[in-house]
């Protein structure tokens, strides 16, 4: 992961995972082709951080347990940078 998404489902899953990690784990993504690999590594690291927090298997991949946890309603993390 993240191998270039082959199917529509995989693309949606990737978007969902990116959005979750941006909202709750301060993932910074840069979709410029030049920064693609760096962004992908950053995403895997953030995914592992999330999996470790929730006691999931730290695979760096959006496995079922991880996606199930991501879908649970939860508390948001406000962007305190602005108000700080």
């Amino acid at each position: 992961f993240p191998v270039a998404p082959e199917t529509e489902d995989e693309r949606k899953t990737l978007e969902f995972v990116e959005s979750y990690l941006q909202n709750f784990y301060d993932l910074q993504m840069d979709h410029h082709p030049h920064f693609k690999t760096k962004s992908e590594n950053h995403l895997v690291e953030k995914l592992k951080e999330m999996q470790a927090f929730f006691g999931l298997q730290v695979t760096g991949k959006p496995d079922l347990d991880t996606l199930e946890m991501m879908k649970k309603p939860r508390c948001g993390i406000p962007d305190i940078g602005q108000y700080m």
Partner: protein, 365 residues
């Protein structure tokens, strides 16, 4: 803890409710906020005063999508709310997503539970990875009338503000760890090939084919069931599980609570002198179910659906020295009795104890 360890420098804080949701009565919102405030004020030396028409330290409001704090909400579900760490201006404020199904009970999202969580952030706590903690990021329902601030949250907030001024320090429930050798159980039952261990508001679920043990809130599966279940058994033939607490019992059919329950245990034939059941197991080969109450046991006939005559009898007379029984279940021809941290394996044919192990022996520790 929140990076930078932000905390309020004053012990007297003010809070204000800026607006209300149309989904709940104003009085219910006020009550939810007040109860959420007291969750924290009960355990730390801070006092909270509600103000109406002036600036407040903690401003609670319902907000919709982009509400100009650079952290827009996302519509129903997903993000339910957020709150800012202690500080001026936005600091301490709680924003609730107006598009959520806010309620005062177990349907939708319970406003009291979410505000209590967010106030933890307003006071300086971040998220906990203890799945039983109030500060765990994912939402889970607990009946507000049964809510007690977990020990993990008490430890966290007292590390920031110190102990409460009360003479008796408050304590809270801890989350069961499957491999804690001191773990004891309230009740155990089989359920369609799995084994369910009840403890407080939790259930540990063990499937014989899976190595790991799953920990869940009872309310995740059965929101209508109370916590602290005291006894439970499965009637395999009827595909039912009966669960007991105090002088009532519920029937699970499949994964649903059967309508019309709870019912009084006296319907099963107990005398009024019995106020609760400690443990129960059912022998599907004989159709007999054994209820344990203090140092005695009753035998119930599942086919006749009545207590057998000549009961109760002393537990020691038939089962030997297993003492008072916390929980029991039958599996593969043996009966397993739980007494504190100890588990006894009983052979009903040889009518004697054939094994003794730790209560947690089922969890592959």
């Amino acid at each position: 803890f929140t990076p930078g360890n932000p905390k309020w420098k004053r012990n007297h804080l003010t809070y204000r409710i800026l607006n209300y949701t149309p989904k709940m009565r104003k009085a219910d919102v006020d009550e939810a906020v007040q109860k959420a405030i007291s969750v924290w004020s009960n355990v730390i030396p801070l006092t909270f005063q509600k103000v109406e028409d002036k600036e407040a330290d903690i401003k609670i409001s319902f907000a919709y999508r982009d509400h100009r704090d650079n952290s827009p909400f996302d519509g129903p579900n997903g993000q339910l709310a957020h709150a800012f760490q202690p500080g001026e201006g936005y600091g301490g404020d709680v924003h609730l997503d107006e598009e959520e199904a806010w309620t005062k009970d177990g349907t939708g999202y319970n406003l009291f539970l979410v505000i209590a969580h967010e106030l933890g952030h307003s006071l300086g706590l971040s998220h906990s990875n203890d799945p039983g903690a109030l500060m765990y990021p994912a939402y889970s329902y607990t009946d507000p009338s049964e809510f007690h601030l977990p020990q993990d949250d008490i430890d966290g907030i007292q590390a920031i503000y110190g102990h409460s001024n009360t003479t008796v320090q408050p304590t809270g429930p801890t989350t069961p760890q499957a491999c804690d050798p001191n773990l004891t159980f309230d009740a155990v039952t089989t359920l369609r090939g799995e084994i369910i261990f009840f403890k407080g508001r939790y259930m540990l679920r063990k499937h014989p084919a899976r190595a790991e043990t799953e920990l869940n809130f009872i309310s995740l599966f059965w929101p209508k069931l109370p916590s602290e279940i005291q006894a439970a058994y499965e009637n395999v033939e009827r595909d039912e599980v009966l669960l007991f607490k105090e002088d009532k019992y519920w029937v699970l059919r499949g994964y649903d609570i059967a309508p019309g329950y709870p019912k009084p245990i006296y319907r099963l034939g107990f005398p009024k002198t019995v106020k609760r059941v400690n443990a129960v197991y059912s022998d599907e080969t004989t159709g007999k179910t054994y209820f344990f109450v203090a140092d005695r046991y009753w035998r119930y006939d599942e086919n006749k659906r009545s207590m057998d005559p000549g009961y109760p009898r002393k537990i020691v007379s038939h089962f030997g020295k297993i003492g008072r029984v916390d929980a029991a279940f039958q599996k593969d021809g043996y009966v397993y009795f739980f007494h504190g941290k100890t588990q006894f394996q009983f052979d009903p044919h040889a009518k004697r104890i054939v094994g003794q192990m730790e209560s947690i022996s089922w969890f592959n520790c």
